[in-house]
């Protein structure tokens, strides 16, 4: 398909939008960016393994956004907005086509705000059940603001069984204020659907931001996490765990941007791949010249359970400061056969031994989730998927 045709598909999609009058400025910026750009194809370095263009080539119809439901908590303001001024203020829509597309097309934004100094005890749970049919596309938008000295824990679940020719694009902008704390957990299990999620985070000094993303089902899941550390003494943890089977393709792209001194980032992404699945991990840690005394750690470990599964892992460390402690490592291998035999020699059957080892492998990521109930339910889901992988 030629580039001009691709561009026209994009503009058709945009012109079909209901174009609410709100968010006019950022929509114009986004459309301006889209006019200059194309739908990412495999020629783009960031989309080398993940063919999103195929969905657009087959034609997508814009439909109204899928609903996001949430529990009501007294100390958190959650509402749908068409005029919140912080929407778009990360400016990601002027840098990435998928974010620009989201910004052009979303109708209303779910705005979550925790006011200064408020410590939210109960966990906020967002549920997004996707029901998109053949060729349907929609964009959803979330904003999370945790003001200075406040704290929040939030889960965002993507579920449902959308069509394998549909696409949901979600963009979540996150602002973590001074000395504030946010834990944001994602669970993605959408049958054979396609999902593109972006979390764009800005942290202020002395804050603590943790995000964990567990990917279980989807024919194509693309998860982008970009964290900008804008003040000193920020601690951030970004973890991911993914399990792939069949022809699933899960792609995690992360960026931690160390702009100032004395911050710490810890990143662990781990995955288990079976069948003919394909995994992608691209983790960038960028340490700017001024960001002295940065501690930046990243690791990506993968276990391949079949000869036909593929993992593409690319850790990238760019360091321009001269007094930092940073490390990164990437491993991809098979399950340790000696360990399996050792466990079997103590009476565990082959599946029990394998499951015990793989659950342990996942635990370093899952332990980053503070909610025990969520962790337990994820462990059960992991067991279920392991059984499917064995079949």
């Amino acid at each position: 398909m030629s580039e001009t045709m691709t561009t026209s598909i994009l503009s058709e999609l945009v012109s079909g939008a209901k174009s609410p009058a709100s968010f006019r400025e950022i929509r114009l910026e986004a459309e301006g960016f889209l006019a200059e750009s194309r739908i990412p194809s495999k020629k783009h370095e960031d989309w080398k393994y993940t063919n999103i263009k195929r969905l657009f080539d087959n034609g997508l119809n814009l439909i109204s956004a899928e609903d996001i439901t949430f529990n009501s908590i007294d100390s958190v303001d959650v509402s749908w907005s068409t005029d919140e001024s912080l929407i778009g203020s990360t400016a990601i829509h002027t840098k990435e086509a998928h974010a620009a597309l989201n910004t052009s097309l979303f109708e209303k934004a779910l705005v979550i705000r925790v006011k200064k100094g408020v410590q939210v005890e109960e966990e906020l749970i967002l549920n997004q059940t996707i029901t998109l049919k053949d060729g349907e596309f929609t964009a959803t938008r979330v904003l999370i603001v945790v003001e200075d000295n406040a704290s929040l824990k939030c889960q965002h679940h993507y579920s449902g069984t959308p069509s394998n020719s549909s696409l949901l694009n979600n963009l979540t902008e996150v602002f973590v204020g001074q000395n504030a704390q946010l834990e944001l957990n994602y669970v993605q299990e959408i049958g054979e659907g396609n999902l593109m999620t972006t979390t764009e985070v800005e942290c202020q000094r002395d804050s603590n931001f943790t995000t964990n993303c567990v990917q279980l089902y989807g024919i194509l899941l693309r998860n982008n996490v970009n964290i900008r550390l804008k003040g000193e003494n920020i601690e951030t943890h970004l973890n991911g765990f993914y399990m792939l089977n069949g022809k699933e393709l899960f792609d995690n792209h992360t960026l931690v941007d160390h702009l100032v001194p004395h911050c710490e980032s810890n990143e662990i992404y781990r995955g288990i791949l079976a069948g003919k699945s394909t995994g992608v991990f691209n983790g960038k840690v960028f340490v700017h010249r001024d960001a002295q005394k940065t501690n930046g750690y990243q690791s990506n470990n993968n276990i391949l359970l079949s000869d036909d599964a593929t993992m593409n892992s690319k850790p990238e460390l760019e360091i321009y400061a001269d007094d930092v402690r940073c490390s990164h490592g990437s491993t991809t291998g098979q399950l340790d056969e000696d360990a399996v035999f050792y466990l079997r020699a103590r009476g565990l059957d082959e599946f029990g031994a394998t499951a015990l080892l793989l659950t342990a492998f996942a635990s370093d990521v899952l332990n980053g989730i503070s909610n025990e109930e969520l962790r337990t339910s994820l462990e059960a889901k992991i067991q279920d998927k392991l059984k499917e992988m064995r079949a």
Partner: protein, 253 residues
């Protein structure tokens, strides 16, 4: 009836024949020591009996308590009561000793038609077995063998053996590399587990272990076969004279 009967066992690894017609009969209540120079096939024997699939059995029969051992998966052998204390215990990050033993004991009990132990009883049972090998309480909570010293790993093997209460314990060079204190602890653990109903096959390089675990029989394994059998005096003779005299006698024969 004998507990273990090995007849003309032949096995190879990576196209190389290691066991070349091995015979051994072990009765309940007995301790057999198997000694032999490096490369004679001692560890291969242990691995083949435990069911390690890297080794290919090319001939022979093994009867374990009336059943065909070679026909069983490794886990079934373990549940039937065969225990191998590994020469090199495997480190398993992220799996705690406690959870590992919970899973293993549950499988073994299920196989023997016993109800699973409730949490309180399991912990009491574990405490009793830990004391047997003077295993530090902290080690039980840590990941299996991860960061354990050599002595701790071997003690952990004997602890696991105590937990699973096997009919036959095979100790594959459990003494190698242990200082005298650790050796005593390991040997005492084994001695406390000895009964008229179970048996042990102790594979070792060194006679020293046999001062602590006194064997009923000593066998010399050389080039894949047992070439000498005797009592504990044979071990002393080997300690003093090495293996060369046996090799020479075999060459003359």
């Amino acid at each position: 009836m004998s507990l273990l009967t090995i007849k003309d066992l032949k096995a190879r690894v990576e196209e190389k024949d290691i066991l070349k017609g091995f015979n051994l009969t072990v009765n309940p209540g007995e301790v057999h020591a198997i000694m032999g120079p490096n490369g004679s096939g001692k560890s291969t024997l242990a691995s083949v009996l435990a069911g390690n699939e890297s080794y290919e059995v090319t001939g022979g029969e093994v009867d374990f308590d009336g059943k065909d051992l070679l026909d069983m998966a490794p886990e079934v052998r373990a549940r039937e009561g065969l225990f191998l204390a590994f020469q090199y215990p495997v480190e398993i990050p992220g799996v705690s000793n406690v959870n590992f033993m919970k899973a293993a004991v549950a499988e073994v009990r299920k196989h023997r038609g016993l109800e699973p132990l409730i949490a309180k009883d399991f912990l009491a049972y574990m405490k009793e077995k830990k004391a047997l090998v003077e295993l530090d309480g902290k080690l039980a909570g840590r990941s299996v063998n991860e960061g354990f010293s050599g002595g701790e790993k071997k003690r952990n093997e004997i602890f696991q053996m105590a937990m699973l209460d096997p009919k036959l314990g095979i100790l594959d060079e459990t003494d190698s590399g242990l200082d005298i204190d650790a050796l005593r602890i390991v040997a005492n653990g084994v001695n406390k587990l000895r009964s008229k109903d179970n048996a042990f096959v102790v594979i070792t390089h060194y006679q020293r272990l046999l001062d602590y675990i006194v064997p009923d029989f000593v066998h010399v394994l050389y080039d894949g076969k047992i070439v000498r059998s005797g009592t504990k005096e044979l071990a002393l003779q080997l300690e003093e004279k090495g293996y060369d005299w046996i090799k020479e006698e075999l060459a003359e024969a």
